[in-house]
């Protein structure tokens, strides 16, 4: 039999996450929208609320709660601020290669600080010459004694300027088919965050470029085996990154529906609230149907992940569906608000801008279809 109910404990996680989002995250939203910068106190609050510790095993200072709990937290935080949800989801993405492919010394060195939120992580794969096709990257490494020397440029990297620990992908200078993953720490000579992007949405979530000029890292910073780095980074993006975007999309979708419901009940036209109009009801119903379906896809994939089953295909389906429907929901929310939907005083205008950023992150909808087609044709 299939049980679709959350456990009492999971309900409490949701309650805790919702309370945190409404009381600790919401006050930062205006500042994030205005400045486009990550508020340091928000990062501190996320750390205090143990949000970075969710997927880290207990023996390394984490909570070991797994991916259903992570989905719940992301959904609740993104309901209030999808920019914060995005930042948080990529922090976990940065943590995942160390958890799954890191050796014992790397786990002991990095995970406790990452769990406490004292240090922040990200993954850097995308380059101007390749994101959807990671093998198109031109960042190279060469071996010099026991060290590796990396040169190249990464772009569209979430948390680029705030991350202390970056797991990045580079290819062997002498073997263009051999990719390896390395941990590069902030402050390493030759490594720096350069251009900071100004996105249309998710303002206050940092995205930018990383530059590596003959950046020397010791051999102990190699994650997994040399030449097997694609597996390290792509499985993190496939399972954790994609799952994270699903949580962000669900939260944003919920926010769109809640704002639309409130407006539709309050807004009087023809002497009655517009919620009695069938055309508005159709939109509300569509938003609800998509949200319910998206949740089923999302939590099924997350539950599979918690059971240790392969779930990247299921996450590809969930990522495609939830991000597409969240974008649709944001458009409908703005439509329901009429002229007010174009005003920045109303959150739905932000939701529409944020919704566009959901698409390309962790793989565009077109790439999701490529993955899904490969799955069904296999």
């Amino acid at each position: 039999m299939i049980d679709f109910t959350f456990t009492e404990e999971q309900d409490m996680f949701r309650k805790a996450a919702r309370e945190f989002a409404e009381t600790r995250v919401a006050p930062f939203v205006p500042e994030m929208e205005k400045t486009g910068k990550v508020p340091p106190d928000l990062v501190k609050a996320l750390g205090e609320a143990e949000m970075m510790a969710i997927t880290i095993p207990e023996q390394y200072g984490g909570l070991g709660l797994g991916f259903v709990a992570r989905m719940i937290a992301l959904e609740e935080i993104s309901r209030i601020s999808v920019a914060t949800g995005m930042m948080l989801q990529v922090l976990a993405l940065g943590i995942d290669p160390i958890v799954r492919f890191g050796n014992e010394a790397q786990k002991k060195k990095y995970l406790p600080g990452l769990a406490r939120g004292e240090r922040l992580a990200t993954v850097a794969v995308t380059e101007p010459t390749g994101g959807s096709d990671p093998t198109g990257g031109r960042t190279v490494y060469s071996k010099d004694g026991t060290d590796y020397v990396i040169t190249g440029r990464k772009c569209f990297i979430t948390n680029s300027h705030i991350a202390d620990v970056v797991t990045l992908l580079a290819k062997d200078e002498n073997d263009p088919k051999a990719f390896s993953a390395f941990i590069v720490e902030k402050g390493t000579p030759g490594f720096k965050a350069t251009h900071e992007e100004h996105k249309v949405g998710m303002k206050g979530c940092n995205t930018g470029e990383l530059s590596l000029e003959k950046c020397r890292v010791p051999a102990e910073n190699l994650v997994g085996r040399e030449g097997k780095g694609l597996r390290v980074t792509m499985s993190a993006i496939g399972d954790v990154g994609r799952g994270g975007m699903v949580g962000c999309a669900l939260g944003l979708h919920t926010a769109c529906l809640e704002a639309s419901l409130k407006f539709a009940k309050d807004r009087i036209l023809y002497g009655k609230p517009i919620s009695v109009l069938q055309t508005i009801q159709n939109k509300l119903a569509e938003m609800k149907i998509d949200l319910e379906a998206g949740r089923l896809l999302a939590y099924r994939a997350a539950a599979m992940q918690d059971r240790g089953e392969p779930s990247s295909n299921e996450f590809a389906v969930a990522k495609y569906f939830t991000t597409e429907t969240a974008q649709k929901a944001a458009k409908m929310a703005v439509d329901i608000h009429g002229g007010y939907g174009c005003m920045e005083e109303y959150a739905v205008s932000r939701y529409l801008r944020d919704a566009f950023v959901l698409g390309p992150s962790a793989g565009t909808s077109d790439i999701m279809k490529v993955i899904i087609a490969r799955w069904v044709l296999a």
């Binding site: 009492e8 404990e9 309900d11 409490m12 996680f13 309650k15 805790a16 309370e19 945190f20 009381t23 600790r24 609320a49 143990e50 510790a53 969710i54 909570l63 709660l65 709990a69």
Partner: protein, 264 residues
């Protein structure tokens, strides 16, 4: 130090538009709306947990309610309470403040010796403010209501600042005693993921009528000397009345209307 905190499961005030009044029992229908810990009781729990952290204490949370109230007891344990007890029995249903206080008092007696009892000043649904003082009466304890600050705690002598009419009163109390608290006392802590995990190993004790050893006619609706005969929501209504004439005439009419309505 042993502290008992009485908490009540109340309908989530955020869902106020979904709260209905049962036309027969004249009580709020609780089960259709999610139950949450009464906000002022969270302040009471925070007071207990702060003492536990600063000078050590064993904190017991006690609630009376239907089985779904289990969750709010568990939530209090996730926040840091050491022991959780839910008094639940069909016979307890329909209790007024008197019968509620009586049942809680018997529960407190059964729970063992204690030094302090904390209650929220009032519940967000019933809002009588009577339960705390009546528990104190049943247990023959001193009581200070509307405590906003614990100024000092010297052994069994506590100095507290409490709201009183338009001012405050400073009261020295000898323990054991019962205090009802206001929201000014503290800022309740947030539920944390690790707190929820720690509460995994804590089990809630369920006590029914027989385990309390009280008679059915002393609890619930049967044991309630007061009966709510009517309850109705506040109706917000706005009327517009257009005044006509010159400015001076309209001003005169305005003053006359205010006088008619008893406003001036």
């Amino acid at each position: 130090m042993k502290i008992v905190v009485c908490v009540k499961a109340v309908p989530d005030p955020k869902e106020i538009c979904r709260i209905r009044i049962d036309p027969v029992s004249k009580t709020l229908t609780r089960c259709e709306v999610p139950l949450v810990v009464n906000l002022l009781d969270k302040h009471a729990l925070e007071a207990a947990l702060a003492i536990k952290e600063s000078s050590g204490a064993f904190v017991t949370v006690l609630s009376m309610g239907p089985p779904p109230a289990d969750r709010i007891v568990k939530e209090c344990m996730s926040l840091g309470a050491d022991r959780g007890i839910l008094l639940s029995d069909r016979a307890f249903a329909g209790a007024d403040a008197f019968a509620t206080a009586h049942t809680l008092a018997r529960g407190i007696e059964k729970a063992g010796p204690f030094d302090v009892i904390f209650c929220g000043m009032a519940s967000s649904d019933g809002a009588t403010e009577w339960v705390g003082p009546q528990i104190a009466a049943f247990l023959d304890l001193p009581v200070v209501t509307m405590v906003r600050k614990f100024e000092s705690r010297q052994g069994d002598r506590w100095l507290v600042l409490a709201d009183w009419q338009n001012g405050y009163r400073r009261v020295e109390v000898r323990l054991p005693a019962l205090f009802t608290v206001t929201r000014e006392l503290n800022r309740p802590r947030a539920l944390s993921f690790s707190g929820i995990l720690k509460a995994r190993s804590k089990t809630i004790e369920h006590w029914d009528l027989s385990s309390l050893g009280v008679s059915a006619d002393s609890v619930g609706a049967q044991g309630s000397p007061t009966l709510v005969t009517e309850i109705s929501p506040v109706e917000n209504r706005r009327d517009a009345e257009m005044l006509r004439g010159t400015l001076e005439e309209k001003a005169d009419q305005f003053v006359s209307r205010l006088a008619e309505l008893g406003i001036v």
